[in-house]
């Protein structure tokens, strides 16, 4: 089955280059977009399997677009493809529902592999993202007014996430911990899913507390 893709980036040279690279390798590039709002609008129509999302969009936030896309389109997965430096944004995008993160300096082969895996429902973790997620769990655990509902990592999940952060591949981790490849993938995916679920609960709680869940009167 052909994987359909949409590329969101505000730099035409990069956007068209990535679109061509993927097109040449058999992906169905349905659309490209230069900013968040038009990405959301176009994606509603073309319903791509995977959206490649840059977070540094001129005049709009890739994080907000990610939140809208994953909220509205259950069949669409967002893979963040961004510069290595936007640490806070990457974490926010992943909490908002992105399935993975790849640095822009990744090779075409890595990109093709990441898009394929994202379409198949896997998470795409770089060492950098693992470090951010690990840090986020530790931050929540160390928060002074301990949030009862804050998700926690199991010892095994912590172990797996640390190895990802140290650059080991899922295969290497499976060998080292004597687990199946699939189990390692599941552990990684769980860490992300718990974070995303917690984020949605937090957003809903915030909305209720501030009366944002009610319809405006007029």
């Amino acid at each position: 089955m052909t994987v359909s893709v949409m590329v969101v980036d505000d730099h035409p040279m990069w956007r068209d280059g990535v679109a061509r690279d993927l097109g040449e390798r058999g992906f169905d590039v349905r659309a490209t977009a230069a900013d968040g709002p038009s990405a959301v609008r176009i994606a509603r129509t073309v319903q791509p399997d995977v959206v490649l999302m840059d977070l540094n969009l001129a005049g709009s936030s890739g994080v907000d677009a990610t939140r809208q896309l994953t909220g509205e389109l259950p069949g669409t997965r967002v893979l963040v493809l961004s510069a290595s430096g936007d640490h806070d944004d990457v974490l926010e995008a992943v909490k908002a529902g992105a399935s993975g993160y790849l640095v822009k300096s990744a090779s075409v082969e890595e990109l093709v592999d990441a898009v394929t895996r994202t379409a198949a429902g896997d998470t795409v973790f770089t060492a950098g993202l693992a470090g951010l997620v690990l840090g986020e769990y530790r931050r929540m655990a160390a928060a002074p007014e301990g949030d009862e509902q804050a998700p926690k990592l199991t010892d095994r999940e912590t172990e797996v996430l640390r190895l990802v952060a140290k650059g080991l591949t899922a295969r290497q981790i499976a060998d080292k911990l004597v687990l199946s490849h699939r189990t390692v993938e599941n552990h990684v995916q769980n860490t992300l899913r718990k974070l995303q679920l917690h984020n949605r609960v937090e957003l809903a709680r915030y909305a209720i507390e501030h009366g944002l869940d009610q319809e405006p009167d007029a």
Partner: protein
């Protein structure tokens, strides 16, 4: 833009000069009134009017000089003090002995207090006190006595010079700090502008060269690889915030490590700052740089490295892992002779000094991994205990072999 420049170029004590000029005119009017009231009883009324004339000229000149920037120099303040002192002392010949005895005001009255104030504004508390002292001596000469009134005037004159001098120094210091802050802000803004511009232009081109180069292969592939290395280095350079220390002497470890990222080195860290005392951060960055240098030298040409920074509450953990050739058990001695273990030993020494622990894991073809653990509050563990703990926790290739 104009507002910023005026802050950077204006004289910070200008308001104090305006105040000084106002004080001079006001006290001159006071002196004028005093002469009108008392001149009939003066021993030499003509000399009194001449001195008042000189005061008029000097008031006009000094006020104009203080309001214009050219008149705010030390030489101006010295002339001010000397001219005024001469005019103060001249009252010795103008007032009658009876007037001196009755503490009739001198011709100069409180007008004499202005030069110590001006000296304080120019040169701080030392100049202010000196100016007050000179005018106080002239006051003593005018009265030809040292009595309670002369001493009281001296204390007031010196105190005025001292306080205004301290105030002008404080104003200049805080202005200097403001200038530094504005300059730092301007530098940050400029840095962000550069980063945006680099991100929008150079990085896009480098990324395309890398991707096309690797597709074409051959020599173009080599060019693409070089472009890719520069792309990664430039990205981490423009996205890393400048390492800075906080007011409490701690500093964020992350920027120090993120600067070490390159095409072969990936740095992972939390999204929130990891604070440690600034000197510890510098040492830690040194350790990681040494470890990466070691990887570069010994792990093989294609080895990649990963740096992971973790904040586990009471400890900060830094791991440096590479996927290079590792160290075969039999090669440990040879490695020691090559100097490789020398680096390891010097890294260990530094970690000991910081009160931390270090472990090294390695096996043939499985790379090496350093893990440094530093306690948050650097507890003063006795060196011998620390050495013993290190021996217990050490798990290097030698122990495993």
């Amino acid at each position: 833009m104009r507002a910023e420049r005026s802050v950077l170029t204006r004289d910070p004590v200008t308001p104090m000069w305006v105040g000084t000029a106002g004080l001079r005119v006001l006290t001159y009017l006071f002196a004028l009134a005093a002469v009108i009231v008392h001149h009939d009883d003066y021993a030499r009324p003509t000399l009194g009017w001449i001195v008042l004339g000189a005061m008029t000229v000097w008031t006009v000149f000094a006020t104009a000089a203080n309001l214009a920037e050219w008149g705010r120099r030390p030489i101006g303040a010295i002339a001010d003090v000397l001219v005024t002192s001469v005019l103060v002392a001249s009252s010795a010949w103008i007032l009658t002995p009876a007037q001196h005895a009755a503490i009739t005001p001198l011709v100069t009255t409180v007008w004499a207090s202005v030069p110590p104030v001006a000296a304080g504004v120019v040169g701080g508390r030392v100049a202010g006190v000196a100016g007050g002292l000179v005018v106080a001596v002239a006051n003593g000469i005018a009265r030809q006595a040292i009595n309670t009134d002369v001493v009281r005037d001296a204390v007031l004159l010196i105190a005025a010079g001292l306080l205004i001098g301290m105030a002008s120094t404080a104003v200049r210091r805080s202005d200097e700090r403001l200038r530094l802050a504005l300059r730092a802000e301007a530098a940050t803004a400029e840095r962000e502008r550069l980063a945006r511009s680099i991100h929008d232009s150079v990085l896009q081109v480098l990324a395309r060269v890398r991707r096309r180069g690797s597709e074409v292969g051959g020599e173009a592939g080599e060019i693409g690889r070089l472009a890719g290395e520069q792309e990664v280095a430039l990205r981490s350079l423009v996205s890393t915030t400048a390492p800075e220390s906080n007011a409490d002497g701690t500093s964020d470890v992350r920027p120090h490590l993120q600067m070490l990222a390159s095409g072969r080195v990936q740095v992972s860290a939390p999204a929130t700052p990891v604070m440690l005392p600034a000197p510890v951060v510098v040492e830690l960055a040194w350790l990681v740089r040494e470890a990466l240098e070691n990887v570069h030298k010994h792990a093989g040409p294609s080895a990649r490295a990963w740096v992971l920074l973790e904040d586990v509450g009471d400890e900060v953990v830094v791991s440096v892992r590479d996927d290079g050739v590792g160290i075969a058990p039999g090669r440990l001695d040879a490695a020691a002779q090559q100097g490789r273990m020398g680096v390891a030993r010097s890294i260990r020494g530094r970690v000991d000094d910081l009160g931390g622990t270090i472990t090294l894991e390695t096996a043939p073809d499985a790379g090496t991994e350093w893990e440094v653990r530093l306690p948050r509050a650097a507890e003063p563990v006795p060196t011998r205990w620390r050495a013993l703990m290190n021996r217990l926790t050490r798990r290097d290739g030698g122990a495993r072999a």
